[in-house]
């Protein structure tokens, strides 16, 4: 194994979570004491069992709700369009065409289609769907819908993209393909990604940092470093290095689950 260079440590900070917690209805502790430093260009996975507060963490970061304790601090001012989101479901508007769906983030900022047409088509091209710009979502397969959702999240070239188990509902072949494409896309637009997943394999393949979490109460158990260099080819999936990281992550996850049981 090559000596780990850690380019991320030198990159500027984008966002920081300081002992952030969220309690619902006064007694459901969804998340407790989560601290995380996100640097520009990071690919961070939140890995953990159901109910450990992964979605809650994303909702806090996207400002859909406020933390009950702790603080979330952004480096520099936040503008709408600095954030892209992908949910587990493609979450497309069924009455709008593919291109109109991707246009949405711009449209909500008052931009006409004509003025951002190139960006929309460019985003569709990056996800390989330029031929489907006039199709309606119901005409697309599950994987294609997810691609549209990803195109919509990145069309404004946001600094940060939040993804909540985006590929969980897809078959494995499609998921692998989208994993590869996601890494390519991230390089192409140079954004930061926080990615929620249940899958150890997915988290190791994609991320440079894995935040392992446990449930009841939702909390961070440990943070793992995946120092394999990008771009990561398909062959990375079968490498010894990959196996070693998966092992490490699985052990950490077991530890997290064990504490609950």
């Amino acid at each position: 194994m090559t000596a780990p260079e850690r380019p991320h440590a030198t990159r500027p900070e984008l966002l920081r979570l300081d002992r952030v917690g969220k309690t619902f209805n006064g007694d459901v502790v969804a998340l407790r004491g989560m601290s995380l430093q996100v640097r520009e260009g990071d690919f961070i996975s939140l890995l953990g069992p159901s109910g450990c507060g992964k979605s809650t963490a994303l909702r806090l970061i996207s400002d859909l709700m406020h933390p009950s304790e702790g603080r979330i601090t952004w480096a520099g001012p936040q503008e709408t369009g600095d954030l892209g989101v992908v949910f587990q479901e493609p979450t497309l508007m069924p009455w709008a065409t593919v291109a109109q769906n991707v246009w949405l983030p711009f449209r909500l900022r008052g931009k006409s289609y004509a003025s951002v047409r190139d960006d929309v088509l460019e985003a569709l091209k990056l996800v390989g769907l330029e031929k489907f710009q006039n199709s309606y979502p119901r005409e697309l397969s599950g994987g294609m819908k997810m691609r549209v959702s990803i195109a919509r999240a990145m069309v404004t070239r946001p600094r940060l993209i939040l993804m909540d188990e985006p590929f969980a509902a897809l078959d494995e072949i499609t998921r692998f393909k989208l994993n590869n494409d996601l890494l390519t896309l991230k390089e192409a637009i140079g954004c930061t990604v926080i990615f929620v997943t249940h899958s150890v394999f997915e988290s190791v393949f994609l991320s440079d940092r894995i935040v392992v979490m446990a449930a009841r109460p939702g909390r961070v158990i440990t943070e793992l470093q995946v120092d394999a260099a990008y771009p990561r080819p398909e062959s990375f999936r079968t490498s010894a290095e990959y196996a070693a990281y998966t092992r490490q992550a699985t052990d950490a996850l077991h530890e997290a689950m064990g504490e609950v049981a």
Binding site: S62, D63, T80, G81, M93, A96, L104, L108, Y136, P137
Partner: protein, 285 residues
Amino acid sequence: MSIADSTETTMEPDADEIARQRRKRVETFGKWLLPAVVLVLMLVIWDRIVVWNEIPHYILPGPGLVFETLIKDWAMLFEALLVTVQITLMALAVAVIGGVGLAVLFTQSRLVEMSFYPYAVILQVTPIVAIAPLIFIYVDSRIAGLLLCAWLVAFFPVLSNTTLGLNSADHNLRDLFRIYGASRWQTLRFLQLPSALPYFLGGLRIAGGLSLIGAVVAEYVAGTGGLKSGLAFRILEAGYRLNIPRMFAALILIAGTGVIIFAGLSFLSHMLLRKWHESALKRDH
């Protein structure tokens, strides 16, 4: 079996395909022909009952006589039909404006909804025949009174369906709109109204039928009215004169109007939804 044979057999429609085509033929055939057969049967039975029992026409006219009357009185009946249709369509239009407007108001302000929704329900559950006499006491204009009655009956399905639709927008999409900093107006325009469209159209179809009912009932209550009389008034009038064939002819026109309104609104709904909504999806199996 040779390769050529086996490729040949795959070209033929399989059992599922044959069964599907058969079902489709029966379906299209049955949908039009069966009701037509029933209609003809009913007319023949009706006619025979009248003829064999020698029932006088002022008690039960035969279908032939009703048809003759329809032609003979066409000028008068058609004029009445136009009046009824006019009231119906105006009531429907006001029901749509009022129903959708109230629904939007309700979803914009929870306080408004809590304050007024119970009264919308009360208006809906009180039979229109019970309210109508009061309305005609207080409202001078006959047309306005008719319109008000028809509207009272018709607006509720539009209101309740549209409210349901506006609130049924996908939660993740709502979150997305919030993250992108959408204004209330943008959320309404780009998310809630399109989400509500299928629900609204369902309510509209019901409201179409109800506004016709409202118009007819209101006219019964309003009773004799000078120049502009609709079909309901013609039925009443014919009843006083024991002109039973004309009553039947007017009845046929009212029923026909209802069918046309329903079919028209169904067609509109299909055209608006056919590109994206599940209800307009054609499945072959």
